[in-house]
Symmetry: C2
Subunit: 123 residues, 2 copies
DNA sequence: CCGCATCCAGCATGATACTG
DNA sequence: CAGTATCATGCTGGATGCGG
């Protein structure tokens, strides 16, 4: 039987599905990964680093991560304003899994593309 | 500077973004995870195991996984038809990363829920 | 049994403009 | 600088019915 923790049960939140609602989002992955790499960062630094991502989506993504306790937010009362984001301990503990996934992605990128082309040409 | 392989560049597909377009999908994760656990499975077995997932989404998900070469499909010319799905070698190599993520999810589920409640009550 | 085609509702996201 | 607000929309995914 499928492991209990990944079974669907409307009365109990499934951890796998709950997690995937978050990290099943490329922005979340890129933000965690970038923060893990660079440590503390400001809003616009993240914005520039990631490159493609609208201001809105960065805001939304950071808010979700705060809500889950993966990222902490520190605001300085200055003019102009400064806000810094850092991974929490829980965020740090997730980081190696994200990194592992990224390394797998890099290692298997060509294999995937090859497979896609074969698949297309086969039909 | 952000690592090259996760930089956005419209001329070169970013492995991280490419991967996330796939596993940034809870169905993909659940299918890989379930196949990894049980080995070869038939369409309806998967359907019943996962529980919530429409037939359409299961079909779509399996097709994407085939396309990427993560899952292989074997069809038997019988009446009634029988189709079996199995992880490929590449799929197997991804499995530990998925499993690691799942274990993290189970271990940190309560921490996340706690954080969410604090976040809500703080506003 | 295993899937595909179609229709359609709803949310996620981008663009844009504005604020403390 | 670091967001918020609003609007338009495109794709995701559910429901349904058909086909090999």
């Amino acid at each position: 039987m499928i492991e209990d923790y990944k079974k669907f049960d409307k009365s109990i939140p499934c951890p796998v599905r709950t997690l995937m609602d978050r990290i099943g989002d490329k922005w979340v992955v890129l933000v965690i990964s970038t923060l893990g790499e660079k440590g503390t960062m400001r809003f616009n630094q993240l914005h520039e680093m990631i490159g493609d991502i609208s201001q809105k989506m960065l805001t939304v993504t950071l808010k979700k991560l705060q809500e889950d306790g993966l990222v902490s937010r520190k605001m300085y009362q200055e003019i102009p304003p400064r806000v810094e984001y850092t991974l929490t301990a829980m965020g740090e503990s997730l980081l190696p899994h994200i990194t592992g996934l990224e390394q797998w992605a890099v290692a298997n990128m060509s294999g995937i593309q090859q497979s896609r082309q074969q698949y297309l040409s086969a039909k």
